[in-house]
């Protein structure tokens, strides 16, 4: 049996039916990791022993006839900015190279409660700052479709692990596109849930008001399954919402006739790779054939999204990063004269270039005399962007666009930060508005995958999942 090619849902059924054991599932994926890692480098830490032990516990449950959770026996790869108790959580930074959290993120607790198996911690841009997974202290991750190229970022390790069949499911975090862009680059499904749907407790923050944890899968249903497992209110996160989570998987049908979709004309006016534009327009036609009513609309403030995002995210980031001072945990400089010197040297020696750049950007935006012009103004622009989407969602169920303006680029190809920042052109506005979106494969060019972004209103994940599922079926299932 080709275990690693099975979907997460198939794995769960076969484990439940005792066709295969959870240990066999985990072992097959561990073998795959051993085979692929030298080329892909998707993982920072592989938790082989813990995973096998967890698999044995699931097998024991099956033997004793206990009820099984949603993720029974399914390996899940975890982005390395999500705290795992007793397993180092590095954020791909020298600063946290040896940091072992004494507590578990809520999403990890939930996965374990649902009998999912944590198979390892995945590579990322350092502290989630980047769009290529090249800024990791542990080396770049490679795109499984073409190892010369980047997998996108910052959740590049999670996307690559799923694409390379090292794990059927993975968790990432998305602050400005960090799940959707790597999903598009690697040719998998990635969901950025509505702000407040998934607990952020234990997730090392990049920009707290924008961050959200979300799933990767090789198809829509698998991704929906992991979303189902991690969504829900958490009293330890006061920004998580109290609401009933719908049954995502059983609401998926291939009938989406009459669904109303909008295409923001601003998206098509931006600089886009022609392959991506063609693929996008082609997909729009397929959706029309499925009975989706599609109209062009204007989201006038979306053009301010990128600068707005970079001001707000770096401002929040700059204060989040202050706790890494070398005193209580993390990297500490060896030689220092006094306490200030200890702070300065530890941070200088352990943070990468991009981290320092963004700390400086954010510090500037928040500083006296600048805050009104930058941070506070950015908060107002954010409201305008949010209002644009709110207005659109009064009439439409979903908004469509490409996920990325460009195809996966080569490792080392982009050195200019602003060019790199433009990778998030289509994704950042969703985080600013706090709404949900997913990216799914909708075509390919030169063997490189292309992603479609489907955006939904706050807590209307069901709409984007339905549209994605129907489209996926129509496109012929797993790409």
């Amino acid at each position: 049996m080709d275990i690693i090619s099975l979907t997460a849902l198939e794995l769960r059924e076969k484990v439940k039916n005792k066709e295969i054991s959870a240990r066999e599932v985990v072992s097959a994926h561990l073998d795959r990791i051993k085979e692929k890692e030298s080329k892909i480098n998707a993982f920072i830490t592989v938790t082989e022993e813990e995973a096998l032990r967890a698999a044995d516990r699931v097998d024991e449950k099956i033997r004793s006839g206990e009820e099984l959770g949603l993720l029974a026996g399914i390996p899940v790869a975890i982005k390395d900015n999500i705290s795992t108790k007793g397993v180092r959580t590095t954020c791909a930074s020298k600063m946290l190279e040896n940091y072992i959290p004494p507590f578990e993120a809520t999403v990890i607790e939930k996965i374990k409660k649902e009998d999912g198996i944590i198979i390892g911690k995945t590579n990322m841009d350092e502290f989630a700052l980047g769009s290529s997974t090249e800024t990791s202290y542990f080396g770049a991750t490679r795109n499984p479709n073409d190892t010369e190229r980047v997998p996108g970022g910052s959740s590049g390790g999670s996307a690559a692990a799923v694409a390379a069949k090292e794990a059927p499911l993975a968790l990432g975090t998305d602050t400005g596109g960090s799940i959707r862009q790597p999903a598009a680059f690697c040719g998998v499904v990635g969901i950025k849930p509505t702000y407040g749907l998934v607990s952020r407790y234990g997730v090392v923050p990049m920009a707290n008001s924008l961050d959200q944890v979300g799933p990767f899968g090789r198809n829509v249903k698998d991704a929906a399954l992991l979303l189902q497992a991690v969504a829900g209110h958490d009293e330890r996160d006061s920004t998580s919402m109290e609401l009933d989570i719908p049954d995502y998987i059983n609401s998926l049908t291939d009938n989406i006739k009459g669904m109303k979709a909008a295409i923001p004309k601003e998206y098509l006016e931006l600089e886009i790779d022609s392959n991506i534009k063609d693929s996008f327009l082609n997909t729009v036609n397929i959706l029309k054939d499925l009975g989706v009513e599609i109209e062009e609309i204007s989201l006038p403030n979306i053009k301010h999204g990128l600068p707005d995002y970079y001001i707000i995210s770096t401002s929040e980031l700059s204060t989040n990063m202050s706790r890494y001072d070398g005193l209580r945990y993390g990297y500490r400089a060896k030689n220092y004269n006094d306490i200030d010197d200890l702070f300065i040297k530890s941070r200088t020696e352990a943070f990468g270039k991009e981290v320092k750049r963004r700390i400086m950007l954010g510090t500037y935006s928040l500083s006296k005399g600048q805050a009104d012009e930058y941070y506070k103004k950015a908060l107002k622009v954010r409201t305008l962007i949010k209002n644009d989407f709110d207005k659109a969602f009064q009439k439409y169920d979903i908004i469509l666009g490409p996920t990325t303006p460009n195809l996966p680029f080569k490792v080392g190809e982009i050195t200019d930060p602003v060019t790199m920042y433009k990778s998030d052109l289509f994704t950042v506005a969703v985080n600013l508005a706090g709404i949900c979106a997913l990216s799914m494969p909708c075509g390919a060019a030169n063997g490189l995958p292309i992603g479609l972004q489907i955006i939904g209103d706050r807590f209307k994940e069901i709409n984007i999942l339905k549209a994605a599922y129907a489209l996926e079926k129509s496109l012929g299932g797993v790409m």
Binding site: P101, V203, S238, T319, R323, D325, K368
Partner: protein, 476 residues
């Protein structure tokens, strides 16, 4: 020259909630270092703060007791700076919109009662504590990290050290009354910084404001104000001025010394705390808290004067602390004369409390016991002086006054026959004093009475002894 002093205070008060501001760690003073900590109050990556509702309630209670407006919508902000005792590199506090604003506290001034205005009361978290060893090491204890605080900022409405000290007394007793804080300066649960300058309105002169920190008692506040006022005036007199700076009170040398100048204003880069949802307070909750506020010291003082007929001074002393006022009221319930109760509490009881450095709640005896003691005195069973000795015993052993009197045989001797014999014996032994008295030396009478009391070990009824001695002297 007619200089006027302007004093404003910034007071930090630790709230006595069971748990910390943003996590469920115990809020307790004096535990072993770093034993009251969790990922949240240690600021570990990914841990999130959740506002403690009772900290909000305590802060609102304080706001209402001090006549403030309560904001129905506020938020928490990050105040950014680096310091070893600050676990996140920022303190969670309130910048633009404080929970409480406006309000006042009435203090006594030379010209009668006066309102000292409050600018704001906001909520925030405390930092950890640095401990510097003799060897030169710095140790860090994060038990205090995340303890809920309110910061109270006054207008510069106080004009003397007396007003500032009275303000602090009123503030402290009110906060204790409403059970928001124990306000122990020595444990750091009340900390006060002074902002001060002097002006000479006639000549249009004014000194630059200085801030004084490290004030460990109300008396230190008074001394520091006195010192600074003199320093400010002296500089103005010399045609100079003070520097805008923060100074530290040096308790040993009784002077203030420069800590840091304020020429470069610190930039704390305040930004909204994105991990905490906006704080929305329902009007109905504010009303509920208002309705549940206990009687405040000022109101209680007025009631004591009216209800018990005791002087304003007595009422003021007795209502300074909630425990003391309760002890007084309970004692009065069992005793007849409120003024007598007041005298004993303000005199002997407070004296012994201060002497032993303990609080009313640490007493080994009850208010009923004190009332019983007064009853023994009022019934003439023991004298006032013996009463004081019995009270001392009650402080030490917690025994009932009746038992002490019985055990030690302290019952007053009021038997005339028995006393007459003793008086005659004393007169026989002190012929010289008898002669002195006869020769018009009145002092000798006191000596003889004293000798009789001594012979009875103080148990004789003093009035009776006086009468018997006079009678016996007449007969000689």
């Amino acid at each position: 020259m007619a200089y006027k002093t302007l004093i404003g205070l910034e007071i930090h008060v630790e709230l006595s909630t069971k748990t910390k501001m943003f996590c469920s760690c115990a809020n307790e003073f004096g535990k072993d270092a770093n034993t009251q900590c969790c990922p949240v109050c240690l600021g570990l990556p990914g841990a999130l703060p959740v506002v403690n509702k009772s900290a909000l309630e305590y802060a609102i209670r304080a706001g209402l007791a001090f006549n403030c407006n309560i904001a129905t919508h506020s938020m928490m902000d990050r105040k950014n700076y680096f310091y070893p005792d600050l676990v996140k590199g920022f303190q969670i506090t309130q910048a633009d919109v404080p929970l409480c604003s406006g309000g006042y506290i009435e203090v006594d001034s030379k010209n009668g009662p006066k309102k000292v205005g409050l600018i704001r009361i906001h909520i925030e978290e405390d930092t950890g504590k640095s401990i510097h060893t003799e060897k030169g090491d710095s140790l860090l204890d994060y038990n205090r990290s995340g303890v809920p605080l309110i910061e109270i900022v006054t207008k510069p409405d106080m004009n003397s050290k007396e007003e500032a000290q009275d303000f602090l007394e009123k503030l402290k007793s009110t906060l204790q009354y409403i059970e928001v804080s124990d306000c122990k300066m020595e444990e750091g649960s009340l900390r006060c910084d002074v902002n001060l300058n002097v002006i000479d309105e006639e000549r249009g002169l004014k000194s630059n404001i200085t801030e004084i920190k490290n004030l460990n008692s109300f008396s230190a506040v008074g001394k520091a104000i006195e010192y600074e006022v003199k320093r400010h005036i002296a500089l103005l007199e010399e045609g100079k001025n003070t520097t805008r700076e923060t100074r530290r009170w040096n308790e040993v040398e009784n002077k203030t010394v420069v800590m840091r100048t304020k020429e470069v204003a610190a930039d704390y880069r305040y930004n909204t705390e994105p991990d905490i949802a906006p704080i929305v307070i329902e009007e109905s909750w504010i009303e509920e808290i208002r309705n549940n506020l206990p009687e405040l010291p000022h109101h209680k003082k007025m009631r004591f004067i009216k209800e018990y007929g005791i002087p304003e001074y007595d009422a003021g002393v007795l209502t300074q602390s909630k425990d003391l006022s309760l002890f007084f009221e309970e004692t009065v319930k069992f005793a007849k004369d409120p003024k007598q109760v007041s005298n004993w509490i303000m005199g002997e009881v407070l004296y012994r409390l201060n002497e032993e450095g303990i609080e009313i709640k640490d007493l080994k005896f009850s208010s009923k016991d004190l009332a019983d003691l007064l009853k023994l005195i009022n019934e003439g069973k023991i004298s006032n002086n013996i009463g004081k000795k019995v009270l001392k015993d009650m402080f030490e052993t917690g025994k009932k006054p009746d038992d002490i009197v019985k055990e030690k045989g302290l019952i007053q001797i009021s038997d005339e026959g028995e006393l007459k014999d003793i008086v005659n014996k004393v007169l026989d032994e002190n012929q010289k004093s008898v002669t002195d008295y006869k020769n018009g030396k009145d002092k000798a009478l006191g000596f003889i009475v004293g000798q009789v009391m001594k012979a009875t070990k103080g148990k004789a009824n003093p009035q009776l002894v006086n009468k018997l001695v006079l009678e016996a002297l007449k007969e000689r």
